[in-house]
């Protein structure tokens, strides 16, 4: 017992200082983080300075920045980055656009017939594993048995196209699948963003007879932008490192039409077993992803300062 008659906390009774007790609570998390994040990261960083093929049975050879320099000078890498950005920007752009429209409809038409069922169906693709969805769509696009080539044939009178086997259409076929899978996510974010607008502000806008664009500009955007941006950033990061969907559908082909960075990375590391180049590329990818994240953190910081005022 101390002066105020309260029992002392157990850690004090056992002679631990508050600081030590706090550390005791944090250490398990820190240890987990260190073992699964920090150590592999440092390992990766180290590997990126060496030439190392684990399958050759030769000791790693130190190259310094050699792996990076050859990556920077490799036109193929820049092409992959271009492909990745094309995929990412198109996917996020289309998904955001469609998501905004669908989200707005679902949000503004509360009494829409079948709204609940439609929402449930709409959100179902999101729960699939990307590899499963990819496999599924490979069948849908199959030039012999697929539904999509069949209807293209029926509607336009052209022979059934091999959409995934053609380097001009493969990217768009994959994109369409990604859009099918992730538009619901942006729809959900839109509904959440619009749901963040206080009821009285919406009512004031209707009493004030604001026009649609005025409502978008002065009511929906100011209240909804952070949730919507969060959705866009999450989608961007995710689209940037898409792997499962593409690996199941085209594995980067035909040629290198759908060869995004994550596919290249996998091939360098686990097909060619070129650990050094793979690691350097992984770090490079990580750097880009961190750049996206910091954009969001920047917006988030603005939001916090806004909330304080």
């Amino acid at each position: 017992m101390n002066d105020d008659g309260m029992p002392r906390p157990r850690h004090m009774r056992q002679g631990l200082s508050l600081k030590a007790f706090a550390w005791m609570l944090i250490i398990p998390v820190l240890a987990f983080f260190a073992i699964w994040n920090v150590v592999p990261f440092l390992w990766l960083l180290g590997l990126s300075f060496y030439r190392y093929y684990p399958t050759f049975g030769q000791p790693p050879k130190f190259l310094g920045l050699g792996n990076y320099i050859s990556l920077m000078n490799d036109p193929n890498v820049w092409e992959r980055i271009g492909t990745t950005f094309l995929f990412m920007v198109s996917a996020v752009g289309i998904e955001t656009g469609l998501g905004l429209v669908l989200g707005f409809v679902f949000w503004s038409r509360r009494a829409l017939w079948g709204r609940r069922l439609a929402l449930t169906l709409l959100f179902s693709p999101m729960v699939l594993a990307p590899v499963a969805a990819g496999t599924f769509f490979r069948l849908i696009y199959d030039p012999l048995y697929g539904v999509v080539p069949y209807y293209i044939h029926m509607l336009f009178g052209v022979p059934k196209p091999n959409l995934l086997g053609n380097s001009h259409t493969a990217m768009w076929a994959v994109l369409a699948t990604d859009v099918w899978m992730w538009t619901p996510f942006m729809t959900m974010m839109t509904i959440a963003a619009l749901g963040a607008i206080p009821k009285s502000v919406l009512e004031a806008a209707s009493v004030d007879r604001l026009k649609f664009w005025q409502r978008v500009r002065y009511v929906m955007w100011p209240y909804g932008k952070f949730i919507l941006l969060l959705g866009v950033i999450l989608r961007t990061i995710d689209a940037f490192k898409t792997y499962g969907l593409i690996s199941a559908m085209t594995a980067g082909g035909p040629g290198n039409a759908t060869d995004v960075l994550s596919i290249t990375l996998y091939r360098e590391g686990f097909v060619s077993f070129d650990m050094g180049t793979g690691s350097a590329l992984a770090l490079f990818t990580l750097f880009i992803a961190v750049a996206f994240t910091s954009v969001y953190l920047y917006f988030l910081k603005n939001r916090e300062s806004e909330a304080v005022s």
Binding site: P198, S200, V201, E203, S206, V207, D208, R209, L210, P222
Partner: protein, 378 residues
């Protein structure tokens, strides 16, 4: 501006009926304050007039034109909500101007209208500031300015002072009074604060359980309540009530010193009395024995914020609250003598409606002898 007339408005939320066939007229150019306890339907009535709620049945007319089927935007009403609403990122001026920015309205007209309300609400110095950075009181001023600037047919205010506190609130109340007096708009003002209603109202409406209990000048509602509820609800505290029908005979007799003899006679003649009410501020309190007055024992005395002394005293079986400036702070257990002047005694029928003693007594076959017996049970 317009007359607002509504007839037999019914609004149900699931099992509860918020409006039970409410009818009434809110007059052009007058400030009507709707007052009532939480859940009495006052806000629902306001929102139904605005079009934010759809009535289940009934009609609403603005100057004789039916509007009950029109959407909010076609009714041209101005509304101020409990929570101050400003459009984020816009200056005070632009906030007020935004609803007016339509093809038909020129910039100079907008500027003139906005400047006028800015001036009336003392917002001039803040015109260029970003509205969402202001304090709650100023944000509510902006919301009020926005609602009135475009001259809507009706101005609806839903507890506009509730979310504003302390000094800001007093300032806002004063500005609002000035604005409303100056503009002579048709205003419907919902509040649960009586002093607010008394300050602002030309006409006061008291609602309870989805029904309008009384509508009239504030003074009339206060001095001549048409219903027991109105007498109880208005005033701080409200009326004292005695329920002769429920009291036992001898118990009732002992409180009779409260009434003047002639009133006692007239009350005795009424067979169906529900309750007798009188306001605490009209109870006369004597510190020395007065012949015939009801003797009472002080239970509690306290100083109110308005500087009056609030006395709770036990007069026989009944508890009477009296409120006066200039009374000493009586100690518990001290004796006082009470009497209520006849003109301040209100009688109500068992259904709560006001009872005119003389008219009611006429219905009786023969008046009972003075003081011979207590009020009859119903």
């Amino acid at each position: 501006m317009a007359n607002v007339e509504f007839t037999n408005l019914v609004k149900q939320y699931g099992a509860t009926t918020a409006l039970k066939a409410v009818s009434g007229v809110f007059q052009d150019g007058l400030v009507t304050c709707m007052l009532g306890p939480s859940g009495c339907g006052k806000t629902t009535l306001l929102r139904t007039i605005a079009g934010l709620e759809q009535q289940d049945s009934g009609t609403i007319h603005f100057d004789g034109r039916a509007v009950e089927q029109l959407p909010v935007s076609a009714r041209n009403v101005g509304m101020v909500f409990q929570a101050p609403v400003v459009y984020r990122g816009l200056s005070v001026f632009d906030n007020i101007a935004l609803p007016m920015r339509r093809a038909q309205v020129s910039d100079s007209e907008i500027r003139k209208a906005v400047d006028e309300v800015l001036d009336l609400l003392d917002l001039g110095p803040l015109a260029a500031m970003v509205a969402d950075g202001l304090n709650a009181g100023d944000r509510q001023k902006v919301a009020i300015a926005r609602a009135v600037a475009r001259r809507p047919r009706v101005l609806l205010l839903d507890e506009p002072l509730t979310n504003v506190s302390g000094h800001e609130r007093a300032v806002l109340k004063r500005s609002l009074k000035r604005l409303l007096t100056h503009r002579r708009d048709t205003v419907v003002y919902v509040t649960h604060d009586q002093s607010e209603a008394m300050t602002l109202a030309d006409v006061m409406v008291v609602m309870q359980n989805g029904v309008i209990m009384q509508q009239g000048a504030p003074r009339d509602l206060y001095e001549k309540p048409e219903d027991e509820f109105v007498g109880w609800f208005l005033g701080a505290p409200g009326m004292n009530f005695l329920y002769p029908a429920k009291e036992r005979a001898e118990v009732w007799m002992r409180a009779e010193g409260l009434w003047e003899p002639d009133l006692r006679a007239r009350m005795a003649g009424v067979r169906t009395m529900g309750s007798i009410g009188f306001r605490p501020e009209y109870v006369r309190v004597a510190l020395t024995p007065q012949p015939g007055w009801s003797e009472a024992i002080v239970q509690h005395a306290a100083l109110t914020t308005l500087g009056q002394i609030l006395v709770t005293a036990q007069a026989g079986p009944t508890t009477v609250v009296a409120k006066h400036a200039g009374l000493p702070l009586l100690s518990q257990g001290s004796r006082v003598w009470l009497r209520v002047p006849s003109e301040h005694v209100h009688c109500f029928a068992p259904d709560g409606k006001r009872l005119d003693l003389d008219a009611a007594a006429d219905d009786e076959a023969e008046p009972e002898p003075v003081g011979s017996r207590p009020m009859r049970r119903v």
